[in-house]
Amino acid sequence: MAKLLQLITSSEPGLRDRALADACAGMTATELLGECAELDQFRRRAENLYERARALFFLYAIHRFHLPDALSPAGRKGGRIPFSGYQHLLRRRFEEAIDRFLAAQAAEGPNDAISSALAAAYHRLAFQTLADQVRRSVRSVRGNQWMFRMGHPADQPLRVRPELLRPSPEDGAFPILRECAPVRMDLTHCGWSDIFFLGMDYPEGAKVLNVSIDLGVHGRDAGTRPPVEAYLRVIEEPVLRLASVDLGVSADLASLAEVFDFAKDYLGLLKAAVIAAGVVPPGIEGSGQSLAELLARMAGPGRGLELVSRVNDIPKGSRLAVSTTLLAALVSVCMRATGQAASLTGPLLEAERRLVLARALLGEWLGGSGGGWQDSGGIWPGMKLIEGVAAGAGDPEHGISRGRLLPRHRILGTDEAPPETRRRLQDSLVLVHGGMAQNVGPILEMVTEKYLLRCHSEWEARQSMLGILGEILEALKAGDIRGIGAATTRNFQGPIQTIIPWATNLFTETLIERVRAEFHHDFQGFWMLGGMSGGGMGFIFSPPVKARAQARLREIMSEAKRSLQHALPFAMEPVVYDFAINEHGTRAELLEGEAALMPPGYYPLSVPALLRQERRSLPPGRRAELDKFAAACRTRPELGGMVRTLFDLMLPRAPAGAEEAGSLAALLEAHGFDEVQHEQIRADLKAGRIGLSQNRLPASATLEDARPEDVAELDASRRAACAETGLAALRRGEAAVFTLAAGAGSRWTQGAGVVKALHPFCRLGGRHRTFIETHLAKTLRLSRRAGVEVPHLFSTSYLTHAPIEEFLRARGGLGHPGPVLLSPGRSIGMRLIPTARDLRFLWEEMPQQVLDEQQQKVRDSLRQALIGWARSAGEGADYTDNLPGQCLHPVGHWYEFPNLLRNGVLLRLLELRPALKYLLLHNIDTLGAELDPALLGWHMESGRGLNFEVITRRLEDRGGGLARVNGQLRLVEGLALPREEVEFGLTYYNTNTCWINLDVVLRAFGLNRDELGDEDKVTRATRALAFKMPAYITLKEVKKRWGQGQEDIYPVAQFEKLWVDMTALPGLSCGFLSVPRWRGQQLKDQAQLDGWLRDGSADYVESLCEWPPDR
C-alpha cells in the first residue's frame, strides 16, 4: 500500500494523525507522483466522506508545497495549463478539470504550472465535497426535510397560532410576538473546532465553553439587555413586511421571487429566517406560485406577516455572533408563531432550541454564509459546554462522517460555575470592539486544511487547546478568574497563533502591550473572541480597576486606531461594552393592547410614508397603528424625541455632505486633477468609445508566445560574473531602488482605502512588519553588504503620501542609513460610476469563477442590484457618495517615473548621488524583489533602457504576460488580451519588476539629465509620451462604510496607464529576464499569506532582510 494512503485509512491514531509534510519529507518527484496516482485512485472510489476529503487535501498539498521543489529543473521551469481545464475549473466541473490537467501532466511531464492547476482543482473539489456534505446534513436534519418537499401554497401545513390572529377589541391592532435573545461569547476560543468540517470529523476535539450574555454599549446605554430582538405580527395586507431597525431598511415583499432575492437589499438575513423557519419553505422557490396565497393559507385571506429585527446598534464584527443570534431569534419567533414550538411565549424547550440551531444553520447556508455551530449559543441560557458528538447508528451522518452535524449542549450547573464566580467574571472582564472588520472566511478554510493535513505544529496546538479548556473549566469551578485570564492569554499567544498566525495583528498586539504597561498586575489576561482579533476582544482586570480600565481602554483603542488607521482597515470607532451573563437564553412575550408596539427605531422607518398619505386611504390597521403610536409618543419615555426625529426626516434639510464635497474639491485641486481630461474620459466612456471591451487589442492582432531566446536566464557562473560588475556599480553609487507605493491595494483590503505599504502584514524577524519596512530591510542588508548607502525611493499618492511620510518620520527613517525619498504623485483621477455595459462585460463576458450554488445565487442577486445602482446613480457620473479619499484614484504606475521627473525628486537624488544610472522599480507587494548585484550587473551589460523580470506562469498568475504581438516582443496587460485563452499560451508572467537605465529612458522621453531642472520642458516631455500610452478602463472595488461597522463594496470605474506598455514603445530597447518565483511573485490578496508563509517564500524574503534594531 502506498505510504500516504495509510495516513488516511489507518485505524491507529499515531499513524492517522501523522503530518503529511513529515511523511513527504525526502520523497523524490517520482515517489510523490506515484503517491499522487494512488491517492487519486483512492479518492475516486472512497465512500467515506472524510477519507475522500483528506485524500483530496493531500493531493492539493503535494502539488502546492512538495512536488514543485522536487521537480527536475526542466519541470520547475513551468509548462502550459490547458485552457479547457481552466474553464472546467471556473464552471466548478472539478472532476473534468482534474482529468484534463492529469492528461496534460501525462503528455508533457510533470511541471510547476500543471501542479499549480492541479493543486487549485483538488483544493476546490475538497471544499466542495465537504460543503456538499454539510448541506446534505443540514437538509436531512429531521424537522428540516419537509420544507424542501413543499412546492405549493396548498401544501403549506403551518398555521399562524390563533393568539396572533385576534385583533385587539379596542383598536383593532394585532398582538406582537417579541423574542429577546442574548448573544454568545466563547470563553475559551475553541480553535475554530466548531466549524463543521472539523466537528464532523473530529467530534472528540470539538469543544466550546460558550456563555450567553446581555450587552450594552458603555457610555451609551443605560444598562445591559438581551441585544437581539425579533418582532412578528399579523397584518391586514397580503405581503411579507420586513424591517431591520438597525440598518434602517424595510420592504414589502409581494412575490415569492422577492423572498429568495437575498442580496437585493439589506434584508437578506430576515428573508433567510422566513425561509428557514418554513414560513416560506425553501422547496417553493422558483415554483411561480403566489406569496399572497401562501400567507392566506397560514394567516387567513388578505393577511400577511410583518417581521422586524433589532440588535440595539451593536456594531458588526463584534465576534459575539450577533448576526447568527439574530437569525436564530428570527427563526424562533417565526416557529413559535406557526406552532412549531410548544409555547408561544417564555423559554424554548431543549428540543426546540436544537431545532432553532438547525434552522439557523440552514438560514446561513441559504444566505451563502456559515460559521460554526456555537454561534447560536445565545439561544441557550447561561454557561454551557458545547461538544461534538460521534455519529451513531440511526444518525443521518452515520457511515459518512465520524461526527454528527449538531453538537450537544450541556448547561453548566452552579457546582461547575458557582454564582460567585459568574459575578466575579462579570466584575473582571472588559469586552470591547476594536473597530476592525475582517473577513474570516479564508481563516476558516485555512483551519480546515491544516486540520485535515495534520500539520505538525497545528495538530499539537489543537491538542494543547483541549488542555487549556480543561484548565479553564477547573478555574471556573474554583472561582479563579486570574487563572482563567492566564489560560486565555496563553491560548491566544500559543495555540491560536500557531494554528493561524493571522489571528492576531499589530493593532491587537499594541493594545495588549499598552494595557499591560499601564495596568501591570491588575491586567490579568487577554481573551480573543471568535475568528480573528481586532474586532471583539476581552481584557481581564482585577475587579477594583475595571471601571477605570473600561474608560482607559476606550482611549487606548482610539489612540492605537489613530496611529494605525492608514495601515489597517478599521470599520468604525472602537467601543467598550457593558455585559452581564444571561441565565435565561432566548425568551418570547406577547405584547397585546396598548403594549403592542414595535421598537422605537421602527417608527421612523414606517411613519413618514404613512403620514404622507391621505389618512382616509390608509387601511384601518395602519390608521389604528398611527393613533396608537401618537398616543404612545406622549406617554412612553422610550419614544421621547420621536417627534423631533420624524420632523427631521420629513422636512428638507441642507444637502448632507456639503462639507465633504468641499474637501473633495480641495483634494482634487491639490493633487493636479485634470478636469479637461476627466470630462473627455467621461464622454468617451458614456459614448462607448472606451470601456472594458475597448481595452483589448484588436481581435485581428496575432499573439504568440515568447521564444526561448527572447528571455534571458542567469546560470551560476554568469551570475557570479555579473555580481562583480553589479557590486562595483553599487559601490560607485550608480543604483537605487524605486518602490511603487502609491496604490490603495484594492484587492488587499477589498477597497478599504488603506495604505498597503503600511499594512503590518506578517510577523517577520519577531515582529509585525509592514511592506515598507520589509523593502527597507532588504536595502539595509544590501547597503551593509556593499558597504555603501543605497538610496531607496517610494512613489506616493494623495492617499499614501502623508501617512508614509509620518510613518517614516516617527520611526526615524526605519534606521535606514541611506537616503529614503518619497516621490509624490502629480496626477489624480476621479472615480466614475461604471456603465451597466462594463459591469455586464466584467460579470457576464469575462471568465468568472462560479461559486457554490447558493453563494452564486446570492452573488447574482447582488450583481443585479449593483447594475441597478449604476443605472439609478447615473452611468459615467462622478462617484462622490463616499469619503473624499475613496472617490479619487491614482492613475496607474506608468505615471510614477514621469512623476519622479516632475516633482524634482530625481533631480534631488542626482544631486545626492551624481553617479546614479540605474533604478530597480518594483511593486510594493513584490516582496522578493531586491537590488541583486548580479542582476544589476547583467542589466548594465545589456545596455538596454529597460529590462523586465518575468516568472513562469502558474494558474493563479492572471493578468497578461510576455508575448509577440504582431511579431513584436512586449509585455501585454491582461486587460489588453483579445481573448482569454491567449493568456494560457503565454509561458511568462510579468512581475512588474523593472531595471531602468536612467539615461536611455530619459532619452525616450526626449530629455537628458541636465534638463531635469527645466520644469516646463519636463512637463511637456512627459505629457507628450503620456499621450502615446494607451489608457485602460478598469473596475475597482471600493468600500463604503456606514452605520455600526457596516460595509458595502461598490465597483467603480477608473482609468490607468501602465508601465509595461513602455515595452511597446518604438525605439526603446527592452529585455526580459526569467527570475525564480520567490523573487517575482506578488502578494495581492491576504488569502495568499498562509501559503506564502508555508511554501518557503517568507523564509526567502527574511533571508534578504536585515532588520534595524528596535527603537
Binding site: 426535510q145 418537499r149 401545513p157
Partner: protein
C-alpha cells in the same frame, strides 16, 4: 376483548348539524348521515350506541336517526365546549368500563368492499385484544386537521402499526421528528381516520386529564399518547376511505363516493359524463 358499544361524537360547535344532513346511500335510499353511521356501526355487530351532542340537540338527532335507529341510541349532552377528549369522556357512564368503538359524527366511510370500515376495526381490536385506532397515510399538508401517530410496523403484518407517539394536529416539523413511520412515502404520516376501538383505560386517562388543574381543551390524542406508554396500542390502516363532510364540498364528495360504491353507480356515472360533455360543449 369484545366490543359491544359505540360512541358517536357530534357536539362540536361546527359539526352539530352535519349528521343531520341527508344523502342517498349505497342502496339508493335517502338517509341522514347519522343513519349511515349507525348502519356502519351495526355492520360491526354493535347495537348499543351513544351519541354525544351539544345542549338541546338530542331531539333533532333522535329524529335524524329514524324510528328504528333512535331506539338504539343513548344521548349524552356536552354542555361546554371543552375539547374532543371531554366530549368522549361525557359518555363514560355509557361505556361503563367496557371497550367501545368511537366515531366522529362528521365523517362517513366507504370501504369499497364487503367488510365495512367499522367492522374491520372492531375485528382487528378484538383479535389483537388492545386499543386500536384506524389511520390513513395522509400528506403532510393535511396535518393541521388531524391527530397523527408514530410507530413501527408490527412484524409480519401489513397495515398494522405499534404506536409509540400520538400528537394532535402536529406541525410538519414535529411530525418529521417524532412521527416518521418506516414504509410510508416521504411527507406522509399516519393520521386518524376518525374511528377508534378504545379500551377502558382511555376513559380513565381522560378522567385523569380532566381532573388535572386547568386542563384547558382536552384532546383525545393526549390520552391516546398516554395509552401508548401504558399498554399495547395499535394503529390499523383499513380498506376504505373516510370523507369529512364538514369541509367545503365534503358532503358532495361523500355523496359521490357513496353513489359510486352502490347500486346506482352506472346512473351516476352517466350523469357525470353527461354533465362533463355539456360543460365541454359549453
Amino acid at each position: 376483548m369484545e366490543i359491544k358499544k359505540a360512541i358517536i361524537t357530534a357536539a362540536g360547535p361546527t359539526q352539530r348539524t352535519l349528521p343531520l344532513q341527508t344523502l342517498v346511500d349505497r342502496d339508493g335510499k335517502a338517509k341522514t348521515a347519522l343513519q349511515i353511521l349507525l348502519e356502519e356501526i351495526g355492520a360491526a355487530g354493535i347495537e348499543d350506541i351513544c351519541v354525544v351532542v351539544g345542549s338541546g340537540d338530542a331531539s333533532a338527532f333522535a329524529a335524524a336517526a329514524g324510528e328504528g335507529g333512535a331506539r338504539r341510541l343513548t344521548f349524552v349532552e356536552q354542555r361546554e365546549p371543552l375539547g374532543y377528549g371531554h366530549a368522549v369522556h361525557c359518555a363514560r357512564e355509557f361505556a361503563a368500563g367496557q371497550p367501545v368503538l368511537l366515531l366522529v359524527g362528521d365523517h362517513l366511510y366507504v370501504s369499497g368492499g364487503p367488510r365495512r370500515c367499522a367492522q374491520q376495526l372492531v375485528e382487528a381490536a378484538e383479535a389483537e385484544d388492545c386499543c386500536v385506532s384506524a389511520v390513513q397515510a395522509t400528506h403532510e399538508s393535511k396535518l393541521p386537521y388531524y391527530g397523527a401517530v408514530g410507530g413501527s410496523l408490527v412484524p409480519g403484518r401489513t397495515g398494522m402499526y405499534l404506536v409509540s407517539q400520538v400528537l394532535e394536529k402536529p406541525t410538519p416539523t414535529q411530525a418529521e421528528q417524532e412521527l416518521i413511520v418506516p414504509g410510508l412515502r416521504a411527507g406522509h404520516y399516519l393520521c386518524f381516520f376518525g374511528m377508534h376501538a378504545l379500551t377502558p383505560a382511555v376513559m380513565e386517562l381522560l378522567g385523569e386529564q380532566l381532573s388535572e388543574a386547568d386542563p384547558g381543551r382536552t384532546h383525545l390524542s393526549q390520552a391516546l399518547a398516554r395509552v401508548a406508554r401504558r399498554e399495547r396500542y395499535l394503529a390499523c390502516e383499513l380498506r376504505g376511505r373516510r370523507y369529512d363532510i364538514g369541509v367545503k364540498y365534503g358532503l358532495l364528495a361523500a355523496q359521490l363516493a357513496l353513489a359510486l360504491d352502490g347500486d346506482d353507480r352506472d346512473e351516476i356515472l352517466s350523469s357525470l359524463v353527461e354533465l362533463l360533455a355539456r360543460r365541454g360543449r359549453g
